[in-house]
């Protein structure tokens, strides 16, 4: 009787030990699987959030460019037409009075200045050659006036159509911003801009021989210009690497993945 009781108890203990181990292992597996699923969900949400932000950014940049295009067109077409009509109207005035003739000539000169200003303003808002002839010509035209004061080394070996029109606008704006920074802050005498296709990427090398700056501390107080560059880089799914330090000029490499059809 005693032996039978002990046997039952021992069996009970062994069964209990095995059962509890199985339950514990099961609970661990369930908890870890559940946690993995939660982490996957969180990662997915985070990814969707990033994607959404990127889409917003792209749409924001596109709408800004669209608005600029509209303003430039309105200024050029409407104000330009008004000035032209005004010029034709004044041209019809006939006078023998030398004083009035002088006033008419001054008026004509002012109208011509106005027409030039309208073209310049419209062009600075959005260069029409960017849309008509592409990035290369637009950049050449943009850099041409600077050649009187700076040594400009510009070389573009990209085939036409390597970048989409949105990417061309974005890259044009980035280079514009970089050049503007060099002119404003760098005290440089030479600027080098090289555009090339390397493997499956468009690579832009921008260098100046100016003062340079402490990149680490500049990152903390990023200005609007840098933020604009950053937004456009994100929108293009590109990467940018800046190398600069006080007294050593400024160097920047931008890598833009080529559209899939060209790969």
């Amino acid at each position: 009787m005693e032996i039978s009781k002990t046997l039952t108890l021992s069996f009970g203990v062994i069964t209990g030990m095995i059962a509890f181990v199985i339950i514990a292992v099961g609970a661990i597996i369930i908890a870890i699987r559940y946690q993995k699923r939660l982490l996957q969900k969180q990662a997915e949400l985070h990814k969707n959030d990033l994607q959404h932000k990127e889409e917003l950014l792209i749409s924001n940049i596109q709408s800004v460019e669209e608005e600029r295009r509209r303003i430039a067109k309105d200024i050029h077409d409407e104000l330009g037409a008004i000035f032209s009509t005004l010029f034709i109207t004044i041209n019809q005035l006939k006078t023998t009075d030398p004083q009035n003739a002088g006033i008419i000539n001054t008026g004509k000169e002012l109208i011509n200045t106005g027409i030039k200003s309208v073209r310049r303003i419209a062009h600075s808002i959005i260069p029409d050659e960017l849309e008509l002839f592409g990035l290369n010509i637009a950049l050449e035209n943009y850099l041409h006036p600077l050649k009187t004061s700076f040594t400009i080394n510009y070389n573009n070996t990209l085939e036409k159509g390597s970048l989409s029109s949105n990417e061309e606008i974005a890259l044009y704006r980035i280079i514009q911003e970089l050049v503007s920074n060099t002119l404003k802050h760098a005290v440089a005498s030479a600027i080098s801009i090289l555009l090339d296709k390397i493997n499956e990427e468009v690579v832009v090398n921008y260098n100046d021989n100016g003062n340079g700056y402490d990149h680490g501390s500049a990152l903390k107080k990023e200005g609007l210009g840098s933020k604009n560059i950053e937004s456009r880089i994100i929108a293009m799914n590109a990467a940018m690497n800046i190398i600069t330090s006080p007294g050593n000029g400024f160097s920047c490499v931008i890598r833009i993945p080529l559209p899939k059809k060209l790969k």
Binding site: I3, L9, S10, G12, I14, I18, I23
Partner: protein, 212 residues
């Protein structure tokens, strides 16, 4: 024969996590330092109880002391990973009332020369509760120290499996001891198997931290 060998020498697997935890002691945060203390206390007890057993001396008094030390060291471990999740009062209660009960049990309830069933069972219950609490925390909070997540996952699982598997044995240890030798050996070999899996999983946890 093989079972006897495993029963006798299996627990010495403990030297692997012990040496690993001592070797990397300086690199460890407080949470893993508790595991080094636990391993040190376990190795010390293991060796001493083996010597006493070989000399045919009763080693249960050592187990009574070890239970108290093990409990406090592991409670420190769980406090470090659960202090933000469980109310502080729970830990205050566990750190004061339970050790007092262990001492009362050793001196007044169960003989110091017998297995301390009550203390071991309560200890196991508490650690099962704390281990499960950590899993609840795992699925309800973002990890605050990602570097510790994997090591703690292994160590907590090790303790959870060990105490879950052993609680039945702890509860009935005195009732089955000395009755049928073959069964006794089988049960305690099963316990050795649990202890070995405990040490292996702790080793893996510590190794994962070392790799990190």
């Amino acid at each position: 024969m093989l079972q006897q060998l495993f029963f006798e020498y299996g627990p010495f697997v403990i030297f692997i996590p012990f040496l690993l935890s001592v070797w990397n002691y300086k690199l460890y945060p407080g949470t893993l330092k508790s595991i080094t203390y636990y391993m040190t206390a376990s190795v010390f007890t293991q060796v001493l109880s083996y010597i006493l057993w070989k000399q045919s001396k009763n080693n249960y008094p050592l187990l009574h002391i070890y239970t108290l030390v093990e409990y406090l060291v592991l409670l420190r471990f769980y406090y470090s990973i659960l202090h933000s999740f469980l109310p502080k009062a729970v830990f205050v209660l566990l750190a004061t009332m339970v050790p007092v009960f262990f001492v009362i049990d050793s001196f007044f309830l169960e003989s110091i020369y017998l297995y301390n069933s009550y203390s071991r069972s309560i200890e196991a219950l508490i650690f099962i509760f704390l281990a499960m609490s950590w899993y609840v925390k795992l699925v309800s909070e973002d990890p605050k120290e990602p570097a510790l997540l994997v090591p703690v996952k292994f160590i907590n699982s090790a303790l959870f499996i060990y105490f879950s598997g052993s609680i039945t044995l702890f509860s009935f240890a005195n009732s089955i001891s000395g009755r049928i030798a073959a069964f006794n050996l089988s049960i305690w070999t099963l316990h050795t198997l649990l202890a070995v899996s405990l040490y292996v999983l702790i080793t893996l946890g510590l190794w994962k931290y070392r790799k990190h």
